[in-house]
């Protein structure tokens, strides 16, 4: 990939990010799904401490919802973007252009990272404004914040891209993904400590990156007294890095192959078939 293509890709991604910010319905919808729910839940039962600790429930939720923002942009938003690009022909358009695929990938990476950064910033802002969440003071905590957010993003973005190539269409993607997403949100310690769950559920939660990213963020924002409510009574940074890293590697191994395959399979005939099907669905 040469430098010119990278530049075109960066510009493309930035253009699409601005389009996202200007699209009120999509941006507001995303905000309600993350910051909105957080504000509601934090108001409703955030005033107390996590049982058995001196850690604020509202701050626990703020950390959890930051992780959930990353998770939902990468695993809901990104697959929907990619299925939309397949359905409306954007992916095929870029196939007709020399160097279109690398530009597409760079562009999508930029727009997804832009969205993640936007939601994370807004969640942090809401956390600071509405709860006792404070931005870290120690450089070490900043460092933890950065690597947890970075590795957490890397653990889900390639997986989200892979999902986008496998799901049939944007509407189907939303309906197929939303239920498991909500389920993981409930069991992964976003709103209450995962130790409140039966042990088998805890194991399920620990298989997915959402729990680990939340844990890493709690280690930044919550006092060590919170450890009383964590599995093993520890922040487990090594395990966090290992699980997030494993997801990142798995995603990075599978996603490029799936993306190439999806692009290769696009053609005008497929485009027409899908649009006819969609029109038929719309008629009902």
């Amino acid at each position: 990939m040469n430098g010119t293509l990278v530049m075109i890709g960066l510009r493309r991604g930035w253009t699409e990010h601005l389009q996202f910010l200007r699209n009120r319905r999509e941006f507001a919808g995303g905000l309600i799904g993350t910051v909105g729910i957080f504000v509601l839940v934090a108001r409703w039962q955030g005033g107390t401490d996590v049982p058995g600790t001196h850690a604020s429930k509202a701050v626990l939720m703020a950390a959890g919802f930051i992780a959930f923002s990353v998770f939902s942009v990468a695993l809901m938003g990104l697959p929907m973007m990619i299925t939309t690009d397949r359905e409306d022909g954007a992916l095929l358009r870029l196939r007709t252009v020399p160097g279109g695929m690398p530009v597409y990938l760079v562009g999508r990476a930029v727009s997804v990272l832009g969205q993640i950064a936007t939601y994370v910033a807004l969640m942090l802002l809401a956390g600071v404004a509405l709860t006792e969440l404070t931005l870290p003071a120690a450089p070490g905590d900043w460092l933890t914040l950065l690597w947890v957010l970075g590795l957490g993003t890397l653990s889900v973005v390639p997986v989200g891209a892979a999902l986008g190539t496998l799901l049939p269409g944007p509407r189907n993607a939303a309906s197929i993904l939303s239920l498991p997403m909500m389920g993981l949100m409930v069991v992964s310690g976003v709103m209450f400590p995962v130790t409140a769950m039966p042990e088998p559920v805890q194991w399920v939660a620990q298989a997915f990156p959402l729990y680990w990213q939340g844990l890493g963020l709690r280690s930044v924002f919550l006092p060590d007294s919170m450890l009383a409510a964590e599995i093993g009574g520890s922040w487990r940074p090594l395990e966090t890095a290992a699980v997030l890293g494993a997801w990142a590697v798995a995603g990075l191994l599978v996603a490029p192959w799936l993306l190439r395959r999806a692009a290769r399979r696009e053609s005008g005939t497929r485009l027409a078939e899908r649009q006819e099907r969609r029109a038929a669905q719309g008629a009902f």
Binding site: I8, D88, A90, R95, T96, V97, P98, G100, V103, T269
Partner: protein, 307 residues
């Protein structure tokens, strides 16, 4: 003579057990406008997608600009222009913004504003792509297809769903590209009149093979061989198809010893003969739809390019 720009020999495509293309032969030379004409399902889009390198073929030899489309890299891709059906992409981009973005992929792109002016989209330059009408959207698709100064342009059903006025405008545009820039153009259509108007040569694709290929005037020559002569005899209407209606009429006059009652000689229009061809092939099913080159092909071509 030069190497053809597009060449397909015995091109075959099979999906599972159905054979969509059963040996398509096609040659397009530099500067030609060729129409792939045929009913829906004849394999036009499949053929053009194989030539564009978007679909792998099952068998046959294919080259576009001297390269196998299945192995064409970015340099090859940059010499092609592609306008597909059903594009609804980049709805949130500005018209000029999208055209400039696509132009930035090419080394020697056209001037974006000039191109917008040529296609009558200057007034829409700042609009969102989603706000364009069907005809405007299609013109933008063409602009995106030619912004990189392609040597070959593929147009798949370019005027499907157009109202007559927009269609006419579009025909003018294709003619300009061919005349003024010498662009080689392969287009698919199921509209005979459109093929006749735009193309120097028409390849009629029926049942996954080229049934006939030639200049519009060459196709007309085929028509002449299938005239219908009708007359009344013994109180009944008789009719006969013949390649030499004049001779049959003469024989009839001799047989009747004078005027022939109800004599009528019909030379079917190009359209009728096209429909005949399509119907015949459909009835034959997997028949012997082998390519039949027509006489007068070169004459027609020269006539065309001199115009």
């Amino acid at each position: 003579m030069d190497e053809p720009v597009i060449s397909a020999r015995d091109l075959r495509m099979r999906y599972g057990r159905t054979e969509v293309l059963r040996g398509v032969d096609l040659e397009v030379r530099a500067g030609e406008v060729v129409a792939l004409l045929g009913p829906n399902g004849a394999g036009k889009t499949t053929t053009i997608e194989i030539l564009e390198g978007f679909r792998r073929r099952s068998a046959g030899e294919v080259t576009v600009l001297g390269t196998d489309p299945g192995r064409g890299g970015d340099a090859w891709r940059g010499r092609l222009g592609v306008v597909l059906q059903n594009w609804q992409d980049h709805p949130r981009w500005g018209v000029r913004q999208l055209l400039a973005h696509v132009a930035s992929f090419y080394r020697r792109p056209r001037d974006v504003d000039e191109l917008l002016a040529v296609l009558g989209l200057t007034a829409q330059a700042g609009r969102m792509v989603a706000q364009l009408s069907g005809g405007q959207r299609r013109r933008l698709d063409v602009a995106l297809g030619i912004v990189g100064r392609p040597e070959v342009l593929f147009l798949d059903e370019p005027t499907a769903g157009f109202d007559p006025e927009v269609r006419l405008e579009f025909h003018g545009l294709v003619e300009r590209l061919s005349r003024e820039e010498g662009m080689t153009i392969l287009l698919t259509t199921h509209d005979l009149a459109e093929a006749e108007r735009l193309a120097g040569r028409i390849a009629i694709l029926v049942d996954g093979a080229v049934a006939v290929c030639g200049t519009p005037s060459g196709l007309a020559a085929v028509v002449r061989t299938r005239s219908e002569v009708r007359w009344a005899e013994d109180g009944a209407l008789r009719s006969e198809r013949t390649g030499d209606p004049s001779k049959l009429a003469y024989e009839l006059h001799q047989r009747f010893g004078g005027p022939v009652p109800g004599l009528e000689i019909r030379r079917p229009s190009l359209e009728e003969s096209y429909l005949d061809l399509v119907r015949g092939a459909t009835a034959r099913g997997a028949g012997d739809a082998s390519g039949t080159p027509l006489a007068g092909e070169d004459g027609g071509l020269m006539e065309r390019s001199a115009a």
